[in-house]
């Protein structure tokens, strides 16, 4: 149960970071608390949008889905795997892959670092670890 709780908390942190970046990208927040200027450079780069939507929006939806899965798992409880545990693991893995691509873009294509994006990358990585430990600690679904 504690892994599901940790996953819910991490998902909430990630969700808040993603909402913050999304609101900046869509002009509802006028400046990022960044300090280095790198956030603005990253957020104004071509890699900050995907399929016509801000990358942060995918983060908002992804973290929300992970939060939902973790909360469902908490409600269900028990020692057996629920579909939400597998979904949480799959979602976190997809998030790490997506975040890895964005971190690569920051390092080699944009050549600037946004501390909020790096923070989100750390959160999703921790979430994957927690989701894996949770999945492994449970007995297979009956």
């Amino acid at each position: 149960m504690r892994y599901r709780m940790a996953a819910a908390m991490l998902s909430l942190f990630g969700f808040l970071v993603a909402v913050y970046l999304y609101l900046y990208k869509t002009g509802r927040i006028l400046g990022l608390a960044c300090g280095t200027g790198g956030c603005e450079k990253v957020q104004s780069s071509p890699w900050s949008t995907l399929l016509g939507q801000p990358v942060a929006l995918y983060g908002v939806l992804g973290y929300l889905a992970c939060l939902g899965c973790a909360l469902v798992g908490i409600q269900v409880g028990g020692e057996r795997r629920h579909w939400s545990d597998s979904m949480l693991l799959a979602g976190a893995a997809a998030g790490v892959a997506f975040s890895g691509w964005l971190t690569y873009a920051e390092a080699f294509l944009i050549e600037a670092w946004c501390r909020w994006c790096v923070g989100s990358a750390v959160i999703i990585s921790l979430l994957l670890v927690v989701a894996f430990l949770n999945w492994r600690s449970l007995r297979p679904a009956a």
Binding site: L12, F13, L16, Y20, R28, I29, G31, T36, E40
Partner: protein, 226 residues
Amino acid sequence: MKTFYVGLGGVALVGAGLIGVQMMKPATVSIPVDVAITVADTAGFQGYVLGSDTAPVTVIEFADYQCPICESFDAVQWPAVYGSLVATGKVRWVYRDFPLDQIHAHTRLASHAAACADDQGLFWQMKQKLYNYQPSWSFGSGQMDKFRDYVKAIGADVDAWQSCMESTKHAGRIQASLEIGNRIGVNSTPNFLIAGRLYPEFMSSDEMVKLVDSIIAARPKAAPAR
């Protein structure tokens, strides 16, 4: 379980509150370095000029708003330099930005703040404010709030200045000045280009007055009108 939900709700509330505060804040500005330099930034902008266009000597100062020696020059030497050389018509003074971004995180923002004040004819007043208050804005955060206070104090239109800052429209001229400085060999601040020769060291007002007077004295005098 109840504790967990209270904690989760607390994090959500605090996070939403922080985001709400950010949404109500005015824009913070970051001045881009990798900006396209246009003709308006080079041929159209020759630096911030003070003094007579017919002055026999031109002095170009390359300076950085966060540089302590530049601040010292501005506070201690500049009044005498202005009085002895600029006000007397001997020197046409040109101020150019030479932001040392590697060591001064906010210098380019300060350069842009002065450039936006220049749009309202208040460059020299803003320059003086920036140097006078250098210790208070050089470190920590909230530079835009402080600069806004200075702009208000010099009597500028704060809304127009804010719009100018958010547009970052003078980023090109700042970068152009930096590149001009690099081309002629400026590698620290303040550096002075006096009558076409670079003096890459600090200069007191007395030394500068002597130097300018010697340059003027060495020039051939125009033949007296008959």
